[in-house]
């Protein structure tokens, strides 16, 4: 393990407009994707903490969004937030591995996220920015997200393995 050195020490806050935290999983003959519009994250040399508001789930149908927030899926009423908190960051050049705890539906489990981190750039307003892309695959049933009506042939309609994808753009706090 090596300590993460993004650039100089400091705290980086999320640019929520240009960031995305989403999920994708095999559904019937294709892939079903969605993302959360209301997300937050914070990066330091030692930690990455992120969250997404379940009620902000964004899919292409309002009834589907309502179903995803219901007790059959994320149960937004009881568990309004998805949350990740790192225990360990490991950077090797542009590669980033983050181990930590992911909480979905009130169930917290260890996960390992892997991906990339960019070199810092300075934007037009003189602020430093850095981009982080991370993903992992989890078994949604381990978090109690079990909905899966069988197809007429008895096969499940929805996969249990879900890819979680985070594209996070951070701005260094002044």
């Amino acid at each position: 393990m090596s300590a993460l050195t993004v650039t100089s020490a400091g705290t980086w806050t999320l640019d929520p407009v240009h960031s995305a935290i989403g999920f994708e999983l095999p559904y019937l003959a294709g892939t079903f994707r969605g993302q959360f519009k209301d997300v937050d994250a914070r990066l330091t040399d030692e930690s990455l903490i992120g969250s997404a508001r379940v009620a902000s789930v964004d899919v292409k149908d309002e009834n589907l969004a309502a179903h995803l927030q219901s007790p059959e899926f994320f149960d937004a009423e009881r568990h309004p937030q998805l949350r990740f908190e790192s225990r360990e960051l490991d950077r090797d050049g542009g590669q980033l591995t983050v181990r930590g705890d992911l909480t979905i539906r009130g169930v917290t489990r260890p996960v390992e996220l892997s991906g990339t981190i960019s070199e810092p750039i300075t934007d037009g307003y003189g602020r430093e920015r850095v981009g982080v892309k991370l993903e992992t695959t989890v078994d949604r049933t381990e978090f109690g997200v079990n909905w899966n009506p069988p197809l007429p042939n008895g096969e499940p309609s929805l996969a249990n393995e879900v890819k979680l994808v985070a594209e996070l753009y951070f701005v260094k706090e002044a």
């Binding site: 309002e62 009834n63 969004a65 309502a66 179903h67 219901s70 007790p71 059959e72 009423e77 009506p149």
Partner: protein
């Protein structure tokens, strides 16, 4: 605290309505059971009629569900499934899906039938329907098979084992209500 009881059977001497009334006797003193008697008046669902204002029987049912802390369903089984009038009423209540009165509402499904199995297939289908509406379907069940032999002359569920199951299932329902959660949080 109030529980709304909805019987899937319209029959005057319905075992499922009797099952609801027995559940009412088993409730703690601070919980009131209202047995819904307007199911027969619910018109057939037609999207052309699903406009403001909704038919009065639909408005009344939606309001009764919204005002209840939880809903207890007792269903018979017709052709291995839920009686049409109950499904029809739920189709009305479920719309619009994102804001419907059953959303996040704790619900318990029990059932009685004259046959041996106590409407278990109908109960399973009703749980599926309620889950799709966004209701919080509690993990408990009571299946009263051979119903004509299980109720006494006053219409009360007389089988001790089934009464215990019903009391336990209702307690599970109460435990899921927001009011109970607030009480526990204090």
């Amino acid at each position: 605290m109030k529980i709304l009881g909805i019987s899937g059977s319209l029959r005057r001497d319905s075992y499922n309505t009797k099952l609801l009334r027995t559940a009412g006797e088993l409730l703690p003193a601070f919980v009131e059971l209202e047995v819904w008697d307007g199911l027969k008046e619910t018109p057939p669902y037609d999207e052309d009629d699903d406009v403001q204002p909704a038919p009065p029987a639909v408005v009344a049912l939606r309001e009764a569900i919204a005002e209840a802390d939880a809903v207890l369903f007792a269903t018979p089984e017709y052709n291995s499934s839920v009686p049409g009038q109950l499904k029809n009423a739920l189709d009305w209540v479920s719309r619009p899906l994102a804001t419907n009165a059953l959303r996040n509402k704790p619900v318990l499904v029990v059932g009685a039938s004259a046959g041996a199995f106590g409407a278990v297939w109908s109960q399973a289908e009703l749980r599926k329907i309620l889950g799709a509406t966004g209701a919080r379907v509690v993990d408990a069940d009571v299946a009263v098979g051979h119903a004509p032999t299980k109720f006494d002359e006053h219409g009360t569920l007389a089988d001790e084992e089934l009464r215990d199951q019903l009391a336990e299932a209702v307690e599970t329902l109460l435990a899921e209500t927001p009011a109970r959660h607030l009480a526990l949080a204090v």
